[in-house]
Structures are given as structure tokens and as C-alpha cells.
């Protein structure tokens, strides 16, 4: 009864181990590698591009996750209001999440085009700027542009899952709060947030996890450029391992992401525990 077990062992557990092992070798494409111990990691530690990629990844993840959370929560609260066509809105809003990221990234690429960008066009027409913005050519612009695209893709997920959490909060709690004279902000701060914390923890873990290991958006939009300013760990490891052929080195970069992921998972685990504790461990 465990074909799943076989598949997972062969294609998940084994590769994980193999990945760790490859990280300690100097394997190249088409040639087996020798055990070289920590040399890959030593090299990467001194490699300025890798350091930059680590910085970029942390920057990208932090900024994108915080904004995704804020906007997602706001959108969830808006959708929790009584609205006409609520289900329609809800389904439409998830679209960015459904569509293949590589393809929507191409749309963003076109939106960010240095000569024909629609954003630049609109801003010029409004008289706010006088020359077209080079979205993907300048390091900081490129970072912000990729972050915006990531947020665009991630907000629906955060919003819809938080909405599911919001719907379980009883309106009578808000009524009770209002009778006791709580302002709108106080109701949000002392009723919504505490009740939503457990689900926020889980949602944000997922969000952080997938932002941290993001690949498609960067690969399509910038391939890590300009001047490696948007290289993330995942794109760098792809570049070194597949394009550059240094499988061992690429694997080492990928393995270097694991500690961060573990931290995120632990965070989620304690979030879940807190949920069980808050609800007396009886809710399913």
C-alpha cells in the first residue's frame, strides 16, 4: 500500500541526501566528483557574488513578506465585509496565484520594458516624470521591480487563506467589543489579531518559504542581473550548477538555504502548537 513511499523515497529523500553529498564534492556535469570536504562552502563564503545573493535573498524575502502580509491582511478584511458579488471577487483575486508564474512574469517583463513600459507612459502623461524609468537596468529599481512582481503574485494567497481564518471569528465578539466602547482599531487589535495569530503564523511560514526559494520570477525578469543585483540563492545555484556546469558548487548553495528553511519550519511548528493550546487542543 505504499507506492507513494517508494516514489517519495526515490525522488525526495534520496535526492535530499544526494544534494547534501554533492555539496561536498567537485562534481561537474558529465564527470563524477571527488570528495573535497568543505571546500565548496569555504569558496562560497569568500565569494562576493554569493554574499550578494544571500543579502538579496534576505532583502527580497523580508520586504516582500512584510508587504504581502500587510496587503494580504487588508484585502482579507475588505473581502470579509458584506459585499455584492463576494464569491466573484474572491475567485478573481486568486487569478494571479493560479496562472503560471513564468507566464505572468513575462507580462511583468513587458510592463517593465525600458522603452515601452506602460507605467512610464502613464507617469509621463500625468506629468510626474519626464523620462522613461529603467525598471530592470538599475540595481535598486530591479530589486524593487522584482519585489513588486512577487508581491503581486503572493498577496492573493495570503488574502484568501487569512480570509478563511477571519470567517471563523464570530461577529458577536465584535458586537461585544463595540458595546464596551472599543474603537475600530481596538477591535482589530484586540479581537481580530489574537484570534488570527495561529493562522497568520502558518500562512506566513508558507509565504516566507516560497519567497525565499523563489526562482521563476527572477529567472524570467532579470536572470540575476543587472550586476547580480537581483540574484537569489536559487537562481545563483541554477546558474552555477546547470548553466555553469559546477553541480557540486550549485548543490552547496542550495544546501546553504536549508538552515533558513528549517528556521521557518520551526517557527510554523510553534505557531501550530500555540493554536492547539489556545483552543484547548479540541478544534480540528
Amino acid at each position: 500500500m505504499l507506492p507513494a513511499g517508494v516514489l517519495l523515497l526515490l525522488f525526495l529523500t534520496y535526492p535530499l541526501g544526494l544534494g547534501v553529498w554533492l555539496g561536498f564534492t567537485d562534481t561537474k556535469i558529465g564527470r563524477g566528483g571527488e570528495w573535497i570536504g568543505l571546500q565548496n562552502y569555504e569558496f562560497l563564503w569568500g565569494d562576493s557574488v554569493t554574499r550578494l545573493a544571500l543579502f538579496n535573498t534576505l532583502f527580497y524575502t523580508t520586504v516582500a513578506s512584510v508587504i504581502k502580509f500587510a496587503l494580504g491582511l487588508w484585502l482579507a478584511i475588505l473581502l470579509n465585509e458584506r459585499l455584492p458579488f463576494k464569491t466573484f471577487f474572491r475567485s478573481v483575486i486568486l487569478l494571479p496565484y493560479i496562472v503560471p508564474t513564468a507566464l505572468s512574469a513575462i507580462a511583468f517583463w513587458w510592463i517593465y520594458d525600458s522603452q515601452f513600459s506602460i507605467i512610464s507612459w502613464a507617469l509621463v502623461k500625468m506629468g510626474l516624470i519626464d523620462h522613461y524609468i529603467d525598471f530592470l537596468g538599475d540595481p535598486y529599481n530591479a530589486r524593487l521591480a522584482t519585489i513588486v512582481a512577487n508581491i503581486w503574485r503572493g498577496v492573493p494567497f495570503v488574502a484568501i487563506t487569512l480570509l478563511a481564518g477571519l470567517q471563523t471569528i464570530s461577529p458577536s465578539l465584535y458586537e461585544a467589543g463595540a458595546i464596551d466602547g472599543a474603537s475600530g482599531w481596538q477591535r482589530f487589535r484586540y479581537i481580530t489579531l489574537p484570534l488570527l495569530t495561529p493562522i497568520i503564523a502558518v500562512v506566513m511560514t508558507f509565504s516566507v518559504l516560497f519567497t525565499f526559494t523563489d526562482f521563476q520570477l527572477i529567472y524570467v525578469l532579470t536572470r540575476g542581473g543587472p550586476l547580480n543585483a537581483t540574484h537569489l540563492m536559487a537562481t545563483l545555484s541554477f546558474q552555477r550548477a546547470i548553466s555553469g556546469g559546477a553541480l557540486g558548487e550549485g548543490a552547496a548553495i542550495a544546501v546553504a538555504m536549508v538552515p533558513f528553511l528549517l528556521a521557518a519550519i520551526l517557527f510554523s511548528y510553534f505557531g501550530l502548537q500555540r493554536r492547539a493550546w489556545q483552543q484547548g487542543g479540541s478544534d480540528s
Binding site: 544534494g19 459585499l83 503560471p100 513564468a102 511583468f108 529567472y219
Partner: protein
Amino acid sequence: MKANDTDTQGMYYLASLPRRVVTVYIPLAIFVFVLLFPFYWMGVTSFKPDNELLSRSGNPFWVVAPTLAHFKKLLFHTSYPEWMWNTVFVSVVATFVSLLASVLAAYAIERLRFRGSRQIGLSIFLAYLVPPSILFIPLASIVFQLGLFDTKWALILTYPTFLIPFSTWLLMGYFRSIPFELEECALIDGASRLQILWKIVLPLSVPGLISAGIFAFTLSWNEFIYALTFVSSSESKTVPVGVVTELVEGDVYHWGALMAGALLGSLPVAVVYSFFVEYYVSGLTGAVKE
């Protein structure tokens, strides 16, 4: 879910209409506009003739003389139809393989109650959290060793690595909600485990199966990094990879064709999704809530 779902009236009547317009409708409209604009832009661009695309005069938000030239180019002068077929084939097969494996695994974990089943359940959840960007390098070398490099089978066999953990997790939740007594009755009547699974559990968990199936289908349709790494010849590429790697040629980008490709590649998932929104949302939220 709580019992107060019927009591949704709340305090909404307290807010006046102008206030609601400012605090609810306007922000919501902005959100919807920003979230949908790239799709609109994709659509508009794909119908624009080249001279309109590259002119800065006129209103870029509208098409003056719509043309199907980009779609024609895409369908008859590139391998796009082939990529489409590959994507459909790979997604459907990978989805079915993973669903089958997940049903068996979820049932085993949930109902056979062997020693360590809880730990296996947890490890399945953790497996779901392992992102493809860590696995693609070692998987590439495995795919190579198995001689599957550059074939559709490389994708069909590797996609389940992220589909199975997810669908198993989702189905475990569904199976748990089916009363145990039903199965006991069947056991007494002499049904085997497989018969129970096939005739009692599966019919009862159709919504769960649909959720998991839709989710798995969209995930494998959208998969990019494995498809990019394991396949290199044009005949076996999937749509996302094909559009990104083959339609972008040289310094002059054919934006019309690119957008048309992106639009056509997005449509099937969007259509499938629109038919099963509720299942999809319940899958999404269910996976997070557990």
C-alpha cells in the same frame, strides 16, 4: 468551522454608505485593478499589430486594429502546439499518478494505524515544505543516471515529489472526517480493505479528490524549474519553459507573440480553476489550516 455561520449580519448596518465607499469599495477596486491589470495588458498586447505596439503616440490601453497575427505565428511557426500537448500530457499523467499514490498513502496512514503512522504523517507534511529549488540539482543527476534526461517521463516522475505530499496531506484530512463506523460495518460484511477503500471511502471523499486533483493539476501546469532543468530539446518542453526560452530570441522581443503565448498558456488553468473555484479554495485553505 464554528456554529455561528448563520449569524453573519454583524454590525455592517452601522456603517453609512459614504463611509463604506471610502473604506471598502475604493481600496477593493484598487486591489482588483492592480491584480488584474497584467492580464488585461497581456490580452491587449497580444491583439495589437506591431506598429501599434511600438508607437508611443495614441492610447496604449486600447487596440485600434486588432489582429490575430501573433496567434497565427505562435500556432503555425513555432512549436507552441507541441509544448501545449506536452504540458497537458505531463500534468494529467502526473496528477493521476500522484492522486493514486496519495489515496493509498493517506488511507494507510489514517486508517491502518500501524506503528509510526503519526510520524509518517508529519514527515509527509514536512516533505511538502521542501522546495523544488533545493532539489533540482540532485534530481537532475538522478534523472540523468536513469537515462530519462530530456524526456517527458523525467517530468512525470519528478512532479509527484511535490504533488504527493500535498495531496496526501489534504486527503488525510478528508478521510479523517469519514465516520469509522461505516468501514466497520463493511468489514463485518466481509469486505476487504481495498474494497472498503474503493466502494466506501472514495465515493465519500469525492470533493477532497477533486480539490487535490485540481490543485495538483495547476501545480504541475505551473511547474517551471524542473521542466527548465530536465528538458532541453524543443519537442519535449512545457508551455512556461518553451515561452520563456524559445520565444525570446535576440535583442528584438516579439512582445505580441510572447503575450499571446502567455495568454494561451494561462487560459487552460484559469478555465479549469473557474469551474472548480470552491474546491480549489477549500484545498488551499484546508492545507494551511490543518
